[in-house]
Symmetry: D2
Subunit: 355 residues, 4 copies
């Protein structure tokens, strides 16, 4: 398996299975001289961790990160930052019931066919547990990007969505409710919806919107590494993501050019921002915003047919500690991935001109 690294200059490589000894990663390329706020890193992990509210999985994992290298007296040294999150929940659970079974719409079947072998415990490498490492690295990237604001929030759960433009939202309220929706009335409906779904033993999808403010003009490397292409890839690499759109997105495909064009102000800003802050693959200084679609979690607490390695259809039933809706815990993951991409492109931008 190649594919465990993201970034060209600010690079994160991760390792680890859901129920192995530990997960972790290496950040290679973090500039030296950055004084780290370790509490802020842990805060981001806490936003992602299981058991944080009644509408997420009730598994208990402290998810505390330990740094092994790259930091001296609290400051990054420019050398690779090795970190680890020990798996405390890797109890001697009996997994024999899923050992030879491929759960529907999970990665069990594809991993086994690809690699000929798999660590079936809790989904192994395909578990979203891996994203904790991304959150650690993203938290460091955020600190490097002190002047840039990255705000993700739950914009829909099932068919309940915020029907306001993001400009009318107060992002400081995102963390004030357990679904992470800054619009309080909508948040209440969303929470009720998730609780209802949970009672049914079912799961539900949703979308997350992310807004990035104060990005300087000039981030992005045409033609293949356009800024939104890399943001899209980063988001699509998150477990359960099925779609990505930025700026006008799929709505833009219905519009006319005369409606869609963003006319300039004299200072280079634009009167509208259907471009989503990126033109020709390069940031133009306006807000970058995009939307990410998450499918419903595949593990449902209902009986379902599965396939076993003998080619038989067998009945199975999920256990009780999965997320009825992945979206609230995915908000910090979306922010982390956005931070990693922006940090990488901030470094890439440094050599664009001759000096």
């Amino acid at each position: 398996m190649a594919g465990n690294t993201i970034g060209k200059l600010f690079k994160l490589t991760t390792y680890g299975e859901s129920h192995g000894k530990a997960i972790g990663g290496i950040i290679d390329g973090c500039p030296s001289g950055l004084t780290l706020d370790f509490d802020a890193i842990q805060d981001e992990l806490n936003r992602r961790k299981p058991g944080q509210s009644k509408i997420v999985t009730q598994r208990k994992e402290p998810d505390s990160v330990e740094f092994y290298s790259g930091i001296f007296e609290g400051v990054t040294t420019g050398t690779p930052i090795g970190f680890v999150i020990h798996n405390t929940n890797q109890k001697s659970k009996d997994y024999s019931h899923i050992k030879d079974v491929y759960r529907p719409s999970h990665a069990d079947y594809t991993y086994e066919k690809k690699y000929g072998v798999r660590d079936y415990r809790g989904g192994g490498r395909s578990s979203a547990r891996e994203t904790a490492s991304r959150v650690v690295a993203g938290a460091i990237a955020k600190q490097m990007l002190a002047s840039i604001e990255i705000n993700a929030f739950t914009s829909s759960v099932g068919d309940i969505f915020i029907d306001k433009p993001y400009q009318d939202l107060d992002f400081s309220k995102t963390e004030s409710n357990i679904i992470r929706c800054p619009d309080e009335a909508t948040a209440e409906k969303m929470i009720a919806k998730v609780e209802e779904i949970k009672k049914q033993g079912d799961t539900i999808g949703g979308t997350i919107t992310c807004v990035i403010k104060n990005v300087p003009v000039g981030l992005g490397e045409p033609v293949f590494d356009k800024l939104h292409a890399e943001l899209g890839k980063a988001m699509l690499s998150i477990n359960a993501v099925k779609g990505f759109e930025y700026g006008s997105g799929f709505c833009g495909a219905k519009m006319k050019g005369s409606e869609h064009n963003d006319l300039f102000n004299k200072d280079g800003t634009t009167k509208t921002n259907l471009s989503g802050g990126i033109q020709g693959g390069i940031s133009n200084g306006m807000d970058i915003y995009f939307r990410v679609a998450f499918k419903p979690v595949a593990t449902v607490i209902q009986k379902q047919d599965a396939l076993n390695s003998a080619g038989e259809i067998v009945e199975m039933q999920g256990k009780g500690r999965h997320d009825p809706c992945v979206v609230p815990r995915a908000v910090p993951i979306v922010e982390a991935m956005a931070a990693l991409v922006i940090a990488d492109y901030m470094l890439l931008r440094r050599q664009e001109t001759n000096k």
Copy 2:
């Protein structure tokens, strides 16, 4: 500018500006021993080229490709394939009117701010002319993937869309009309729509759907280089693309897990395919399908305000040879990018197991 290469093993690097001497590229990593069908390559270029029908730009560019290396007696040798498409249309046109002007929703402003200098003639590097090189490389990738079928088609123009599942379409009809929509009744409506928009001097967006059949199980490199993440990046790197979704996509975000899960048949195929042929980032052997959103072309034949380098708002008007809708010409580009990604992952797959 880094960013002009796509692929890890089957790698394409492109160069060239819209009105420079030539555009072209290098394919590094094409396996040796592939007998090339040069007519088929030119056919793909012809599907993309200007002037092919009344609903696309009437510019005349023959777009004939010349190969400089990597092929001996019609067979790939494993060495890099250098190719070129000479720009015959680079006439001594007077571009002074756009020299100091940034057109709205083009890349003029961002290129100039990023690089401090730009080739303003016809959009320079940001012109979709660059995609001709992608089509050349994609045509070779398609030939390498002889057993895999890649079919893209226009699925919507403005608010006119095919209201059938792709399984009910006959892809052999895609090329039978100038909008490249395999559903003939819808095609007629789309064409009428584009003609109407063209008369208005306006432009309109649309979507392209792509279906990839006969992909073996096992393509994809978790966790960051999931197959759909790389497909998404490849599509988002195409000019004017604003969104990407695969399988259930944004609709999936509204669904419940009990509805969304794809139950297995005994042979490992699935009864439904909301997964879109990819689970955990790895192909599962079912059809891969995805949808790409294109915004309306920014150049409209109407007066618009633009910004000049002196910080003044000036009125400008597009000239008469631009595409009213980019979608029909983008169909072969979507296929080319899909072929490049699949070819790359077919090679990557070769070393996943110990042997």
Copy 3:
């Protein structure tokens, strides 16, 4: 700092400072299905570790490796292999005497000037302690390359060298003496030399020769990634290395073509092997052999002038636990780096032809 990764498909990324909490790495791209011999891995670490004989540093470090991921029931799963070696020797030693001092011919000065900050404890990232991670990964690569023999040995210490062609040596004797020279008479002289140098509080350089047998024809990726170019880079990346030559090497530069050409046998082997098993950057099936030059260790137990951060020349003296000659402990490092390169190129070779 970028630069902590080696390999294109079989990739090792390392982290860790000499006196930090731990060193370690991630191997991304190891094929699945490889049953690991953990004792063999530890054996390689033991060949490198301090304190193993009277002629190496007497520091005590157990150097035991712990695997965190990528292995399930003793078999590689294709997912990234995360591993760690905890630093047990990171005692609360007082390093204040070197905090502001740049030792001559160490990396103290360059690290501080480059990064503006450094972990001065024991050389930090520039310490050869980092190579323990390489030995772990190299040991796994060796197991993947079961049919290929990689034998490195000490070929000279100061001006004492083996004056026989490698074909006359019995590599099974390399480990029978503490200098790792398979020629016993020469080994004795070398050991005496190192002991003499050690008594003087001085250090001495040496060379290591490495012979790789049973390499299949076809490894190497021209033009920039020729097999010997990557081997050379890998060796030059080892601490204290000043030179690399393969086949006829620098002697070849004195020869005539009529003497130097390796004439063929009918089976494609060659009568001589001045090419060193590589022609045009690609292995030809003959033995690959190369020689690596190591400078004397910079830390001498004699008084020396050093520079401090105030721009003053200060006298300093090395402490008593450094290697008088780095070569015996570097033998397994050279083998590890060779194994990493060969493993990577074995995987790269899998996609050279169309199939």
Copy 4:
């Protein structure tokens, strides 16, 4: 074939066979705003081209480069620079005599075994003709590095060598003689030697030394991408190179630490420079110098046994237009590769610290 790209940020990808239509390349990552001196680029090509003197091959190739992109009004735009050198010498020569023959110590055998097919005309991709593309890119890199001096020269031919330290040489004299040795008395001997060898129909090896002055402190990316490791790889990727050493090199392996250490001056410079300007993989501001060993050209104008594809030994004889000694024409190639590496590391250095 992967492997046709060098560089991480300042990237060169080349293509082309000796007797194909053209050779060329793409430079991706050259910063914008660099005003190019095209005559200086052609001058470098002229230093490399055949037929320039009586002691090199008498083939006639004008080797004039044409730029297709990336430059506007003489200034780099930051977009990829595509360039081509058309092969004017690709006459309809009859190559049937070497079609099925593997010449000794050439790459014929290895290419055919690796790829199953090869362009046998004039060595195809394995021909040193490919290095013309490197010289073009290196010439641009040199212009980017205006304040850095890169001087290579012939330091030995066979057993004739300059017996002075490089500090005693006047590099302005390198181009004053056809062997490119700045020591005139030695140059005469070298030229006489090559002429003698040429009369014998034989070839001879040699070494090139390269000195890089005014390199700022801080270039180099530990641990695997140390500056000298990348320089070594770049040099080893040149056709016919068998060895690389920098600073004290192989001599350093015979020395004692007390002799070898470079003591500091108060300003951070060192009294000696056995380190060769690089410590811990990072430049320290002193002169970087290294030496490269070239084997004798394999094509001799004498009868030799070769192998054919039927497994028979056949007699063959080289034709009369090959180089008796590759070294004089390789001097600009060594400089070009050095410039490419230094340019890349100058860009990499821009993001090492947080700012």
